[in-house]
């Protein structure tokens, strides 16, 4: 299937508003929890895009201090209160959605690109190349992911790009494994054999026939993994290995708020944490729903 064919199937194949009974979309819509999560994710995307227009303090959201208003508890003017530099916490939370989503998407994009190419290469070629690629994959999977990401980020120095790179280094092996399995099964199909028979070169076969076929499960997995990658970025930021100030970031905001807990300023870490938690949870609930829907045996869970 060509990429265009894939999009056509995703958009045209289903009728989203009136799905046929028994179709995947029909089952998905029965899973109320998953539908709510999807709605929340779409809302988060909109918030990230529209952040500057959703708050009266867009400059504070981007990091401009307003020192006279520091550490104000939640009020009508500042529903989430203000932080140690007097910035509106709500504005910071809204802008933080941008950092979180950009970082999450970047991590998945890098890991998918790298992992898929290696996996397709390993699965299609087999032999020693397969062996080498898979052993390297084993080594990277042997590390507890956060520890490896921390160490790489510490070597590279704290910045958003480096955090993204460090986390991608721990993520690609999963896609290599996933793609390799798919590639092995596609390799034996008749049309691939036919293509080889008429002398099409390997790179063209991988590009035209293997990759488009392995892409669907990989893209689904990548979307569902967004939540987990956002969690990891925020953990690095919390440790001071991610986004440096004044860029708005949920993990960094929680870390800044930590010192103010003992004096009872609960709002500084609570609200960014809530945004983080709900975003990650929506991705995970959506993933759970997709898994139930795509597995006919599990559909019994939706009774």
């Amino acid at each position: 299937m060509t990429p265009i064919g894939l999009v056509e199937r995703l958009l045209g194949g289903f009728n989203w508003l009136r799905p046929e009974p028994g179709s995947a979309v029909w089952w998905f819509r029965r899973d109320r929890i998953a539908v709510i999560s999807l709605t929340f994710i779409v809302a988060m995307l909109l918030i990230a895009i529209l952040a500057p227009w959703l708050t009266p303090y867009p400059n504070q959201g981007r990091g401009e201090p307003s020192i006279l208003d520091k550490l104000l508890p939640p009020s009508q003017a500042h529903p989430f209160g203000t932080d140690p530099l007097g910035r509106d916490v709500l504005a910071r939370v809204l802008f933080g959605a941008r950092t979180a989503l950009i970082a999450g998407i970047a991590i998945q994009a890098i890991s998918v690109t790298f992992g898929t190419v290696l996996g397709a290469l390993a699965g299609y070629s087999g032999g020693w190349l397969d062996e080498v690629i898979m052993r390297v994959t084993d080594v990277f999977l042997a590390f507890p992911p956060l520890l490896l990401a921390m160490t790489i980020a510490a070597v590279l120095g704290p910045s958003l790009q480096n955090a993204i790179l460090a986390i991608s280094m721990t993520w690609w092996p999963w896609y290599t494994r996933l793609t390799r399995g798919q590639a092995i099964s596609v390799r034996e199909r008749d049309y691939v054999k036919a293509a080889r028979g008429i002398g099409v070169n390997d790179i063209t076969i991988i590009w035209r026939h293997i990759l488009p076929n392995v892409l669907t499960p990989v893209m689904v997995q990548a979307t569902l993994d967004l939540g987990a990658s956002i969690l990891t970025v925020s953990a690095l930021s919390f440790l001071g290995l991610g986004v440096p100030p004044p860029t708005p970031d949920w993990g960094a905001m929680i870390s800044e708020g930590r010192v103010y807990i003992q004096s009872g300023r609960w709002w500084i870490p609570t609200f960014p944490g809530l945004a983080l938690f709900l975003t990650i949870m929506s991705f995970n609930l959506l993933g759970d729903g997709v898994q139930i829907v795509s597995n006919p045996q599990a559909r019994g869970d939706l009774e």
Partner: protein, 345 residues
């Protein structure tokens, strides 16, 4: 493949992976910006002294030779010096590992104690309210940023209710008034051995919040694993037969079905360990718990980068070994494993 062959192959792969892991930490330690010799001597060192240290540390040797030396000295337990504590890293790890293991072990036990029964009940009433609720709760658990939950608990139980201490392993008064004699390094055990109940109670109070936070992820994981394998087992005919023979639902669930369903949950211990030890990094900073996690975060703060390589290496090797042991136990219990998974590893 015979059992012996399978185990040998598994062991060989494990050794290979450990070598690969060392290669990664070695390569990382060579791309660190900044000169290790300068780090060692401080910023105002003379050129001649720097050259001498470089020679001593073997930094002028070709890379393959350096790697061989790195592997052999690591195997001897020489992990280098911490520039911050001015002590061999292995010494620091020995002091701090028990503190972290105390948290990790308690969290894993808590995870099994809560996760298994909830998973069983969820599977028993598939799709019902309790099942839906435990599904949402278990997903909330895997989505929870540990450092945030830790702060919320501190707010609630320290600041507002005043029931639990803010952090640390022991209160200052207890540390001075009735100190714990160090035997195993596990405060809970050491205090109990010497019947130091004042300190024991204090240690328990300090352990509650970090353990609960650390257990959140493993609890969710074991709920989901147990539920999934219980759903499989409950659809088997021997369960229907047992029900028909008049066994009570309780006996069917907890005696008959769970015995088979628990194997996958137990083999997940390796994974649980990995998550707990990673979670410990985040939990320990918030609760100022003097373990491996705060050792790492202090190292980050002070640019003591070789500590990071050493700790990552040690934890990864422990993790690989635990997974090996789990594989061996699984192979011993279940002959299908050798054929099914032996082929593809």
């Amino acid at each position: 493949m015979s059992r012996g062959e399978y185990l040998l192959r598994r062991l060989g792969l494990g050794v290979l992976v450990i070598l690969g892991v060392m290669m990664v930490t070695f390569v990382l330690s060579r791309v660190v910006p900044g000169d290790p010799a300068r780090l060692y001597l401080g910023p105002r060192a003379q050129a001649q002294a720097l050259e001498q240290v470089r020679e001593e540390l073997g930094l002028n040797d070709p890379l393959p030779k350096q790697f061989v030396r790195y592997v052999t000295s690591t195997l001897r337990g020489e992990l280098g010096y911490s520039f911050r504590t001015k002590r061999p890293i292995i010494q620091d790890i020995k002091v701090r590992l028990p503190a972290t293991m105390e948290l990790v072990i308690c969290a894993t036990l808590l995870a099994l104690a809560v996760g298994v029964p909830v998973g069983v009940l969820g599977a028993a009433g598939r799709g019902k309210i309790f099942d839906q609720l435990s599904r949402v709760i278990s997903i909330a658990g895997v989505s929870m940023p540990a450092f945030w939950l830790a702060l919320l608990l501190q707010l609630t139980f320290f600041l507002w209710l005043g029931w639990l201490p803010l952090g640390g392993r022991l209160s200052q008064q207890v540390q001075l008034g009735s100190p714990i004699e160090r035997v195993t390094g596990f405060n809970l055990i050491d205090a109990a051995i010497s019947s130091n109940w004042v300190a024991w109670r204090d240690a328990v109070m300090h352990t509650i919040m970090p353990v609960v936070v650390l257990a959140t992820y493993p609890i969710s994981l074991s709920i989901r694993m147990t539920r999934a394998s219980m759903v499989d087992v409950l659809s088997e005919t021997y369960i229907t037969a047992a029900r028909a023979a008049g066994l009570t639902e309780r006996e069917v669930l907890f005696k008959l079905a769970l015995k088979n369903a628990i194997v996958p949950t137990l083999t997940m211990m390796g994974l649980l360990f990995a998550y707990s030890i990673t979670g410990a990094v985040l939990v320990e900073i918030v609760f100022t718990w003097p373990g491996m996690g705060s050792y790492m975060t202090d190292a980050i703060l002070y640019g003591d980068i070789y500590v990071l390589f050493a700790v990552t290496l040690v934890v990864t090797v422990i993790y690989i070994l635990i997974n090996l042991v789990v594989d061996f136990i699984q192979a011993a219990l279940d002959p299908r494993v050798r054929i099914g998974r032996g082929g593809e590893v």
